[in-house]
């Protein structure tokens, strides 16, 4: 178990290196650079050269990568080419927004998905078919489109919740809650349905397992069979799907933040993409990569808790 976690953490270092290296190498290989982006198409050769010198763009990309790595190691991720703002600090001010979106969405996907999936597997019938249909919709409808429909209905038609914008949790808890309800719903729809489907399939499979028959046949109560034995054994594939759903949510957040104009990391990354702002993209990349590593670590720990084979050996 500990070895597994150690292995995960050890793997995270090459992962971070690879992600940043890809970005740096691509940027170096492709014509056009930050200086031209800043000064525009009509800049003179002298001013371009001067700015390049100032930004250190004349160094080979390997040297620049080394510098960036050394900085990143100390928490300095460079500055935005466009705004000149320190990347680490703009990440940390926007982190709260993205986490306000991601953490509730992950929890909602887990709780609602498992509850719906379990209920439909045990009860079957109408609820089961409903889950099948909704999970197809969750798979097919793009999150940003669902977000717009939610806005059209709850914000525009019913005027219950704000259509856009964000309030700090510390400033106004009620306002915070109102500002994240629609984004979280839009972001979790896919997650809830994916987890519900996996739970349903997994529980139905375990319900047919020999040991379930054996426990029932030898007098164990149906309640214990379902909530102790079936749920526990069905959980491992569900945890896997939760992990995939959570990683997918990082990408989904980029779209959802744009729809609801939330000042998070996703909208930062989108703007940076439009502006050719490579240092900011790299910064967001580092954060997202770390998030994936944390999610995978949590999933591994969950495996260990659920599966005695992992824990014992």
């Amino acid at each position: 178990m500990l070895r597994l976690i150690g292995h995960r953490i050890a793997m995270s270092i090459p992962l971070l290196l690879i992600v940043s290296l890809i970005v740096f190498a691509l940027e170096a290989l492709v014509p056009g650079d930050a200086a031209r982006t800043i000064l525009g198409e009509n800049a003179t050769a002298q001013s371009l050269a001067a700015l390049r010198d100032q930004l250190g763009l004349n160094d080979p990309w390997t040297v620049r990568y080394g510098d960036w790595l050394a900085g990143a190691f100390h928490g300095d991720l460079g500055t935005s080419i466009i705004s000149g703002v320190d990347v680490s600090s703009s990440l940390s001010t926007r982190l709260g927004v993205t986490l306000s979106l991601l953490i509730p969405s992950m929890l909602l996907s887990a709780v609602a998905g498992i509850a719906l999936g379990f209920a439909s597997a045990v009860r079957g019938g109408v609820l089961g078919r409903f889950i099948d249909v909704v999970s197809l919709l969750g798979f097919a409808l793009p999150g940003f489109w669902v977000a717009l429909i939610l806005v059209a209905f709850f914000a525009v038609q019913l005027d219950l919740l704000p259509a856009t914008g964000y309030q700090e949790l510390t400033v106004s808890p009620g306002g915070w809650l109102k500002s994240i309800i629609l984004p979280v719903l839009a972001l979790s729809l896919h997650g809830i349905t994916a987890v519900a489907k996996q739970t349903r399939d997994s529980v139905m499979e375990v319900l047919e397992a020999d040991y379930v028959k054996f426990l029932r046949a030898n007098g164990v109560s149906e309640r214990s069979v379902r909530y102790r034995h079936v749920l526990r054994n069905a959980a491992i594939p569900v945890v896997t799907s939760l992990g995939l759903v959570s990683v997918g949510m990082l990408g989904g957040a980029v779209f959802i933040e744009n729809v609801f104009v939330l000042p998070g990391l996703g909208s930062l990354a989108t703007q940076a993409t439009l502006d050719h702002d490579v240092p900011v993209i790299l910064g967001v990349g580092v954060f997202f990569t770390l998030s994936v590593i944390v999610i995978n670590l949590l999933i591994d720990i969950a495996y260990g808790l659920l599966n005695p084979k992992v824990r014992v050996s």
């Binding site: 940027e27 940003f144 020999d210 040991y211 054996f214 214990s224 990408g251 989108t270 702002d277």
Partner: protein
């Protein structure tokens, strides 16, 4: 229809079988429509960029089938042109996906060794890369080129398909015909193209359509963010974005673009599922399709004569059906037998004869799609086929207990052995944890498990099959049952362990006087432990008798054939007389005698009518009308 054009291993068979399903026809039809977007310049009713400010935000009409947008442009035309860019995006992504995944997957699976290890490690790392960030970086660097983003997406997403292709290639490599081909001197390339790739074709198509579904989601998402071709170019995501700006005045505009994205994703997803269903033959009894749970109780239980003498367990005219995708199949027809306290009845027959179903039906533990259609199961005076769930639950474990064929899968893998036994003990009698613990250790000693204290702390995967079967027997004995149903209790075990388990069962039976209903196909086991035998064939009991009479001289040709086919009875150095043919599955059983097509004694009258179970003596019965022929045979 990216899959048809992109997949290298596409073959007629799959296309045909996909088109044979209605799901397949609908999705393929829709995807063909989608492909028509490529001909947008020919098909579009209007120029997608032509603005007409006098007719903005119009609802669908004869001149604009899907209405107009905020600049008065024709929505249908823009959808067609937008679809063209989506198709191109998907094709780029899928091409990159296949180029990376298939060669690497086949190579890793077929070559194995160091290459496989490195490839898998790399795949692990790539799987953890947050794709969206790389895509945004690519779009930054390549100046918002959706093509570059889609190719990157295809390559980064390839690790999933690579794993699956690798798995398939590994399976194929280990098969005999591939080894044979290697021995015959076929080169690796030949083997890959002739044997490995054709077998991977199904999974490749499934994965490709699923990837295409994801790719279109990403492509529309990126264009929605304005990261694709700049306006006024038509893209599906861009159209949703434009619709968002007029959300309050013209909500209709969200529908065409959003709907067409959803339908395309759905069609690709369902196509993938359909291909998976037609290529992967499911091994479940329901043929991989979900079936409606059947009612458990018979609708109108046939009135049956009360048993003459009161046996502990009396099964009469028991019929069981299973609902399958092809309709209701009768698995058991009129099964009957008696079992008294202290006796052991062996239910004997080949696979498919219905012996295990009989055992499960007695316990009321048929699968969700099975039900008792007629007959009765009377246990100690109580009719079980009409018993409520609660009444059955009260009997289980305390009056009737079960041990099953595969001891390793009969125990819950997630709980320690001690915890499982404690739970079973406590579900029979209310007692403190400590008392239950003591009882568990007693039970473990009763079934001769060495070092019970230590054993209780282990998980099922840490013990051997023989040990697991002892644990299962201990669990079954926890409620001191009057009847133990043992479904092939020794089949999965080594011969020496088999003998130990049978000796254990015999000893416990002697000490407790419980009755045992033993399902087996092994005459050695029957001889070892049974007092009575009921031989089953194709869902019927064909012969029943006390055990010594059956071994003396059977009164049904199937019994004789089954004994002759048993390795135990064969004389040394003589071939075993296997019975030609197999047990017919439900639905293709013969009228008249069900065994006649495999029977050496079959005569014309065997086909005339259904053969009843003929009572020969008080204890012997046979479902054969030509028993006299059997007596004269040497």
């Amino acid at each position: 229809m990216t899959t048809a054009t992109e997949s290298p291993a596409k073959k007629r068979g799959i296309v045909r079988s996909v088109l044979a399903t209605w799901r397949g026809r609908i999705t393929v039809g829709f995807l063909l429509l989608f492909v028509c977007c490529l001909a947008a310049p020919l098909l579009a009713p209007a120029d997608p960029l032509h603005q007409d400010l006098r007719h903005i935000l119009e609802l669908p009409s004869g001149s604009h089938w899907l209405g107009t947008d905020s600049l008065g442009r024709d929505v249908l035309s823009r959808l067609l042109y937008g679809g063209r860019s989506s198709i191109v995006g998907i094709l780029e992504g899928v091409a990159a996906h296949l180029v990376v995944a298939v060669p690497l997957g086949v190579a890793a699976g077929y070559l194995g060794g160091r290459f496989d290890r490195y490839a898998m490690r790399a795949a692990d790392i790539v799987m953890s890369v947050p794709t969206i960030v790389i895509l945004l970086a690519i779009l930054t660097i390549f100046n918002r080129s959706i093509a570059a983003a889609m190719i990157t997406l295809g390559a980064l997403g390839a690790s999933g398909m690579m794993r699956i292709v690798r798995g398939t290639a590994m399976t194929v490599r280990q098969e005999l015909y591939v080894s044979a081909a290697e021995l015959l001197g076929l080169s690796r390339t030949q083997i890959i193209f002739r044997h490995i790739l054709p077998r991977c074709r199904g999974v490749i198509i499934v994965q490709t359509s699923l990837f295409a579904a994801i790719a279109i989601g990403i492509q529309t998402g990126l264009t929605f963010l304005g990261l694709g071709p700049p306006p006024p170019a038509a893209t599906w995501g861009g159209m949703v974005n434009e619709a968002a700006t007029t959300l309050t005045t013209a909500p209709w505009l969200l529908v065409p673009a959003g709907g067409v994205i959803a339908l395309t994703v759905l069609a690709l997803g369902i196509l993938g599922d359909t291909v998976r269903d037609v290529t992967a033959q499911s091994h479940t009894s329901s043929g991989g399709l979900r079936v409606k749970p059947a009612k458990r109780r018979p609708e109108a239980p046939a009135p049956t004569a009360a048993p003459e003498r009161r046996a502990l367990l009396s099964v009469r005219d028991l019929s069981v059906s299973f609902l399958t995708p092809r309709g209701e199949a009768e698995v058991l027809t009129g099964v009957g037998f008696d079992l008294d306290a202290g006796q052991t009845l062996g239910l004997v027959g080949e696979s498919g004869s219905g012996k295990s179903v009989t055992a499960r039906a007695v316990l009321g533990l048929l699968e969700a799609n099975g039900r008792v259609t007629a007959g009765s199961v009377v246990f100690d005076g109580q009719e079980l086929t009409r018993a409520s769930r609660k009444e059955l639950a009260a009997l289980r474990g305390t009056r009737i207990a079960l041990i099953s064929q595969e001891p390793m899968v009969a125990l819950d893998p997630s709980f320690r052995i001690g915890a499982q036994l404690t739970e079973i003990v406590r579900s029979h009698t209310k007692m403190s944890r400590r008392d239950a613990r003591r009882r568990v250790l007693e039970l473990m000693e009763l079934v001769e498990l060495p070092d019970p204290e230590e054993m209780a702390r282990r998980y099922p995967f840490q013990i051997s099959g023989g040990m697991a079967q002892r644990v299962a027997i201990a669990a079954a004995l926890a409620g001191s049952p009057d009847l133990l149903i043992a479904d092939e209790p020794t089949t999965a075990l080594d011969v020496t362990v088999q003998a130990e388990i049978l000796a254990l069962l015999r000893r416990i039976q002697r000490e407790t006087g419980m009755a045992v209903l033993l399902v087996t196909h092994d005459w050695g086991v029957v001889a070892d432990i049974c007092t009575h035998v009921a031989v089953m064939y194709a869902g019927q009991v064909v012969e029943s008798a006390p055990v010594e009479q059956v071994f003396g001289a059977s009164v049904h040709p199937y019994t004789s054939a089954l004994m002759a086919a048993s390795p135990d009875s064969a004389a040394r150095r003589t071939p075993i007389d296997a019975i030609a043919g197999t047990v017919p599955p439900p639905g293709s059983r013969l009228d008249g005698c069900r065994f006649r097509d495999r029977c050496a004694l079959a005569a014309a009258d065997c086909a005339d009518k259904d053969i009843p179970l003929l009572q020969l003596t008080e204890e012997r019965a046979s479902r054969c009308i030509h028993t006299e022929l059997l007596q004269v045979r040497p």
